[in-house]
Assembly symmetry: C2
Homo-oligomer: 424 residues x 2
Amino acid sequence: MTQQAKNVLYAQAGGVSAVINASAAGVIESVRQHPGQFGKIYAAINGIKGVLEEALVDLTDMSQADIEYLKYLPGAAFKACRFDLGDEQQRADQYQRVLDVFTAYDIGYFFYNGGNGSMLTAQKVADYCSRHGHPVTCIGVAKTIDNDLALSHCSPGFGSAAKYLATSFFEATLDILSMHQTSTKFFVMETMGRNVGWLSLAPGLVQDAMPDVPIIILPAERPFRREAFLNEVKRLIDLHGYCVCSVSEGIRTENGQFISIEGEEHANGHTFTQLGGVSEKLAHLVADSLNIKTHSANPDYLQRSASHMVSLTDWQMGYQAGSSAVEAALRGEHGVLPVIEKTDDTPFIWRFKTVALQAVADLEKGVPDEFIREDGMGITAEALDYLRPLVQGEHFVSFKQGLPNIKPLELKNVHKQLAEFIDA
Amino acid sequence: MTQQAKNVLYAQAGGVSAVINASAAGVIESVRQHPGQFGKIYAAINGIKGVLEEALVDLTDMSQADIEYLKYLPGAAFKACRFDLGDEQQRADQYQRVLDVFTAYDIGYFFYNGGNGSMLTAQKVADYCSRHGHPVTCIGVAKTIDNDLALSHCSPGFGSAAKYLATSFFEATLDILSMHQTSTKFFVMETMGRNVGWLSLAPGLVQDAMPDVPIIILPAERPFRREAFLNEVKRLIDLHGYCVCSVSEGIRTENGQFISIEGEEHANGHTFTQLGGVSEKLAHLVADSLNIKTHSANPDYLQRSASHMVSLTDWQMGYQAGSSAVEAALRGEHGVLPVIEKTDDTPFIWRFKTVALQAVADLEKGVPDEFIREDGMGITAEALDYLRPLVQGEHFVSFKQGLPNIKPLELKNVHKQLAEFIDA
């Protein structure tokens, strides 16, 4: 470490993915390769909230063994917040606090790991530093299972969730196939994605192994048409004896109402804005309408935490999301996000390139029309071509006493130097 | 094959497990080792229903490659029925038909692979053959993820479902741990088991890696006490910031009403007897009562089909359930079921022994009192000692194009010889 070396601050935000910690490892290992440029490595606990709270851990001396654990650890090793900075005009105190923490810890590089919403926070910090002449390089680290990051061929985290969902759906399909004659004839699995249906497409990969599988796919991008759906279920069951279905949690009626919270009432009069449960609703609808036995699965967090089922391709994307951010910093870039660019189809070749944070912050990229079948209940060959490379490759985790050999990192908070910040 | 060699008929019934096809492979490979004793190997498609329908496939020349596929194939390779023979007095035609099929195909050995209910069918066939002097050896092949087979230390299929659930819950727990400060504070996962709570115990294994994990376990054997439950959730969240919960789909109120179908109304006036959805109900209850963000997962069929997450110990039990049945037949036993006997604790040693089918048919073994914490919301060290050996060992499936390299077997039905049977 030279006199000029500045310290690094890394933080995680938003819903986790199976490879968000691979990104952390990518940042840490890349930073260590450049001791002349970078000094200490800190992580904020709980994203930007941890920055405000001066809740930091020092990773400078993290053992290589812990880094290896980190690479396949589910969840967010340094805790991820659902919290964004306020408007700069109204919450100048927050921005000043961020600068105070940066200054106190001699931070020269801020790497913020998250999705669309978190990139807005990264951009706000980057802009504020620029406008106030504070020499902190701010770079985003891409992550989201939803795959809705604009300008990126795909999002780190998506491929692993897709591989988990496709595998699980494949296994369950063989279950239904084997039992439908005297038992369940309709099975539906729900995937995450409030506004975008990328993950609902993944089970379509089952068609690679079972070209004639009677599958219905309902992405969030298309309205749910009850009669057309029931007709299609009936048609497939008449033809094949059973039907399997993948549905976005975020499907809505043609009037824009979420199916998953249609007709639900809760105590305290508060309305649930959170989704989940649409698969059970569809299973009941089909059971009631066609008078057959149905079943539904909702993997929920299992799909974004399944580090035992990472796509190696996605894991590499996750790792390089981190290392590319460090490389961008080394090149002197600021206020940017490394995103994935596909450079060839056969074989699938990709690399990271940087785009301005403001070009992606708070945007959502939905599934394009050409990936969805015209009737809105299936996907096209183009969609399969897109999905297939993203789920390639496996990493078999090690096990201990029958369970994956994973454990939360033991984090020791840095002794606080500043006065407490009251985030009013 | 000698003159005396009689043919073998194997069939699968009831809900599938991740290792039911390992049992099939155990039967097939063991039969092949005794060509003097056994002739052709048939499988009925769809259990006893396939016997009635004379829907048979000939496995005698099954390739070793297909047997290797079979060993880790999810679902039931030969289709599993939820269908039992009627009462012998009222449905003598069914029993006569079974004998006609046995005679037409020179069946001397009938191996029936299933759980409690299916063992009743196996017993009925065994008794009928005995009383009518028909020389068919009938042996059960043990299987059920529910782990409720009487007289067996555990049931083949349980260990793999338990390993899948414990792994998934572990991964999701690290997710909640990392996000609870600004997001979900309560997560609940539902496990199968209408009357018995064995599978709900499995997530308790997370305590091996995280001794202080704030976990609630609600097995079907204990009534659901709303206030006590909410108090425990609140206590754990106050203490740890979050709480994770594993719940049997079959939990009931103190009045015996299933929570999962409490207050549900369906079109057509028909009442759902099928369970599922209790996790979402608990998540809503906690959200409404404590005003916090909650999430729920219902893996449903995923837990019984996940051949990518078999316990090697369980797989060996599944395989030997099949091979032990063949060995029992070779010893001249009839009307029996090989069950698992634990012979030592450290190390865990087990073997198969046979018990009479009538001693297990249609019985259900629940979780013993000493495995459940006194307040009914957790499990004991004895329960963990019981569970731990059953999830040991891994088998990493091979992948193809990013998904497990599995595919339904191509089955060619044997040309029917008999007149059609109308099962009125």
